[in-house]
Amino acid sequence: MQFMLLFSRQGKLRLQKWYVPLSDKEKKKITRELVQTVLARKPKMCSFLEWRDLKVVYKRYASLYFCCAIEEQDNELITLEIIHRYVELLDKYFGSVCELDIIFNFEKAYFILDEFLLGGEAQETSKKTVLKAIEQADLLQEVRPHVVTLHFNSALFLIRLLRLN
């Protein structure tokens, strides 16, 4: 995989992971073009498109587009599974994940991604193992920020609960 982008239906970038060295300017250009191309696709179209010399695999989950650029010899169908696995990991970690979770906890989204993929390839194929590693690493975090996070997540939970009522 060369890079992965997460963006909203309005084209706002929520996560960008680059596995190839490019300048900031180039990254911005690529992001802009690709986001435009993917957002222009109609629902009936397939999840793959050729873009420059790469293959792009994308899938929409609720309000977020997950977009990966893979190389000629990579398997498009399994890339869809990779995307799905990442979504599952996020879902398990945040508990019924939504776009807001990714916005407010973007650094966690990166940490999870970095426990699942390394250099563009999957490093662990067991969901349980990835989640366990994140859990353990979270415990290592020194008290102060951790407590803040806990508070905030609880607050969000309460707000959601209140909203539901």
């Binding site: 929520r14 179209m45 397939c46 010899q73 599974e81 390839e121 353990q136």
Partner: protein, 695 residues
């Protein structure tokens, strides 16, 4: 301000300007905090900076701060620091090199999660220098018994090898027992590492071939083993690992009979037993098919693979259909007959809604056209041409004409093809002209239709060129109203000349088109009676600014004056043209020996032009020559070692021959290339050099 607070605040901004203001304020605060070297809040500040960076704002002033965080003892700091490094730093900036020492220390840290952070960062963005410095540490970790670290080290090694291929050798010992691991993470990443090494080095490939039985065993266990909750995806055990193993097997089995045989059974097993109801299963099948087609598999297995692709074509999931068409396109040359069986399904895909699927279906359809199915296929393709998007029309029309030229068409089909002329590309113009010339009984009809097209629209240059050529050739048929296939139009000689002269003066016409028109007008001088008018036109253009037109006009003028007796013969109807495309491998190289004047009279400089008229590209094209002892040969580098198909380009190479004894020049040449996946060798002797090249 806390990170979450900042995010919430920025999101309340109602305009871009408001957002920018907030960001600038916050950045200023962060900058001063950085200046104060505040350790407590550095982590939070960098995190905030990363958020703002994602929104598109500059964050370069945080780069050094990331390095400070990485060097900190706190895990929280390191986590954000490494993340910041991966997002803000890149190998173009020297700053990143400062990370090297930190990473080295962290690779040896007592906590595996810190080691993990270091491995991840190195494996994601390590530059060549960093990789060189730290390869040893990675290699060490590749041998650890800690599977958490081992799997990361394997992928880190992949990155190191990609950046510094010469270091590949040092990882070889550590790969010894990688596949004996039970841990799936390590297995998966090990297979990725082995794949990378085999792809890069033929020696490694030969070395790792012995792993085939082990890989087959692992794959078998995955398929046969019962439900394993940890690795299960929709009833399939670790599909990620299965796919990677299949890919590695593909590389190992390619061009090797023994390995291919050893994997034959397992491939058949995977192909028949994998559950196809979900995408996961199909992903594995897809990889299996790719492997079967690439290795030296027996024909039964190959047919099985193509049938799987055929089934994919009928799948409801458009992604599966897309993947099937792509794969069939790759195999249609080598397994033509097997793919033919699925022709009707492929043609149906022309009606699909997805653009990519349509394009692939079109390419595949053209590849499948042959003498037997030309009528049926033409019908479908012409229908497609009429209804498809503009972006396809040029390629489709050209494909239609190429097919018609190759396999011949009957009157019915020719009737329908001609309108397609409006869509052709520039390079199809000669082909189309040849096609028209050779369809003798269609001349009257063709010229009429093309003339009508000219009346409609003169902006499409390829069409205009073909139409004016035809009008010049068959103008007599046009005015005499000889068309049988449709109502003949009433047109006078003057009207025809009006149209052609109109092309000459129109702004829409390119110089090439003008050349066509002028020649067409000239040809009509032997077919029409209004010769005086034509003479006048030709006279005028004798002083045209366009040099090409001027030259033509002057020559035609001369035809009227001094060589009038030759005019009828020169301008008579074109004869049927010989087919220029040859499909046999014997007619591929046109060796065009040229000699140039050069300072050393004993050296002959020969330039070779190689062209390829077959349908597939010739890759790995190598030209070798052997000469008698009296000569010395120097081969300079060729322009390329891929000779494009269908005469689309040539490879040139220069040979210098030292011939001090001035013996008659001759050499034996040996061509080696790969055509459609198979290596070909061709030997020939060349000895018809002109005497001045060696005298």
């Amino acid at each position: 301000m806390l990170l979450r607070e900042l995010i919430r605040t920025i999101r309340t901004a109602r305009t871009q300007a408001e957002e920018r203001e907030m960001i600038q304020k916050e950045c200023a605060a962060i900058r001063s905090s950085f200046r104060e070297e505040d350790n407590t809040y550095r982590c939070r500040n960098v995190a905030k900076l990363l958020y703002m960076h994602m929104l598109g704002y500059p964050a370069h002033f945080g780069q050094l701060e990331c390095l400070k965080l990485i060097a900190s003892q706190k895990f929280t700091d390191k986590r954000i620091g490494y993340l910041g490094a991966m997002l803000l730093l890149d190998e173009r900036q020297d700053v990143h090199l400062l990370m090297t020492n930190c990473i080295k220390n962290d690779l040896n840290h007592s906590t595996q999660y810190v080691q993990g952070l270091a491995l991840c960062t190195l494996g994601c963005m390590g530059s060549s220098e960093m990789c060189r410095d730290l390869a040893g540490e990675v290699e060490k970790l590749l041998k650890t018994s800690n599977s958490y670290l081992r799997k990361k080290a394997a992928l880190c090694a992949v990155h190191v090898i990609r950046k510094v291929p010469e270091l590949m050798e040092m990882f070889l010992p550590a790969t010894k027992n990688l596949l004996s691991e039970k841990n799936h993470g390590v297995l998966h990443t090990s297979v990725v590492l082995l794949t990378e090494m085999c792809e890069r080095s033929p020696d490694m490939l030969a070395h790792f071939r012995k792993l085939v039985p082990q890989l087959v065993r692992i794959l078998k266990n995955l398929i046969m083993s019962g439900y394993s909750p940890e690795h299960d995806v929709s009833g399939i055990s670790d599909p990620f690992l299965q796919v990677r193993i299949l890919r590695l097997l593909r590389i190992l089995g390619k061009s090797d009979d023994d390995s291919s045989e050893a994997m034959n059974d397992i491939l058949a097993q995977v192909a028949t037993n994998t559950e196809t109801s979900k995408n996961v299963g199909n992903a594995i099948l897809y990889e299996t098919v790719l492997t079967i087609m690439d290795i030296k598999s027996e024909s039964g297995l190959r047919v099985l693979a193509i049938n799987i692709l055929g089934r994919f074509l009928l799948n409801n999931d458009k992604n599966i259909r897309y993947v099937a068409l792509t794969s069939l396109l790759k195999t249609v040359q080598t397994d033509h007959n097997a793919v033919q069986r699925h022709r009707s399904t492929i043609v149906d895909c022309l009606k699909d809604l997805d653009v990519s699927i349509k394009r692939r279906a079109m390419e595949l359809s053209f590849a499948l056209v042959n003498g037997n199915n030309i009528r049926g296929m033409m019908k479908e393709l012409l229908y497609f041409l009429d209804s498809c998007d503009p972006e396809f029309k040029a390629d489709c029309a050209s494909g239609v004409f190429l097919a018609a030229e190759k396999y011949g068409t009957d009157r019915q089909t020719s009737l329908h093809i001609t309108p397609a002329g409006s869509y052709v590309r520039d390079d199809s113009v000669p082909n189309l002209i040849q096609l028209i010339t050779n369809s003798v009984e269609m001349h009257a009809y063709t010229v009429q239709r093309l003339y009508k097209a000219l009346l409609d629209d003169i902006s499409q240059q390829p069409l205009v060129q073909v139409a004016s050529w035809c009008t010049g050739e068959y103008g007599d048929l046009l005015v005499s109203g000889q068309c049988e296939e449709e109502e003949p139009i009433q047109v006078t000689e003057d009207e025809v000349l009006d149209v052609l002269e109109g092309l000459l003066v129109s702004n829409l016409s390119t110089p090439v088109t003008r050349g066509y028109s002028l020649t067409a007008i000239m040809k009509l001088s032997t077919r029409f009676s209004s010769v005086n008018r034509i003479k006048k036109v030709v006279l005028i253009y004798g002083s045209s600014i366009d040099v090409e037109l001027q030259q033509r006009a002057v020559e035609y003028n001369a035809l009227f004056k001094k060589y009038d007796h030759m005019r009828p013969a020169l301008l008579e109807r074109m004869p049927i043209m010989e087919k220029t495309a040859a499909n046999g491998p014997t007619e591929i190289v046109q060796t065009n020996g040229e000699t140039e004047a050069n300072p050393n009279p004993n050296i002959a400089i020969i330039t070779i032009h190689a062209s390829n008229a077959t349908e597939a590209d010739m890759t790995d094209f190598v030209f070798q020559a052997a000469v008698p002892k009296t000569f010395q040969l120097q081969l300079l580098s060729p322009s390329s070692n891929v000779v494009p198909a269908l005469n689309q380009g040539t490879v040139t190479q220069v040979i210098r021959v030292l011939n001090p004894q001035k013996v008659s020049l001759s050499f034996t040449n040996c061509l080696t290339y790969t055509l459609k996946g198979s290596p070909v060798q061709d030997l020939a002797e060349v000895n018809n050099f002109p005497p001045q090249s060696w005298q």
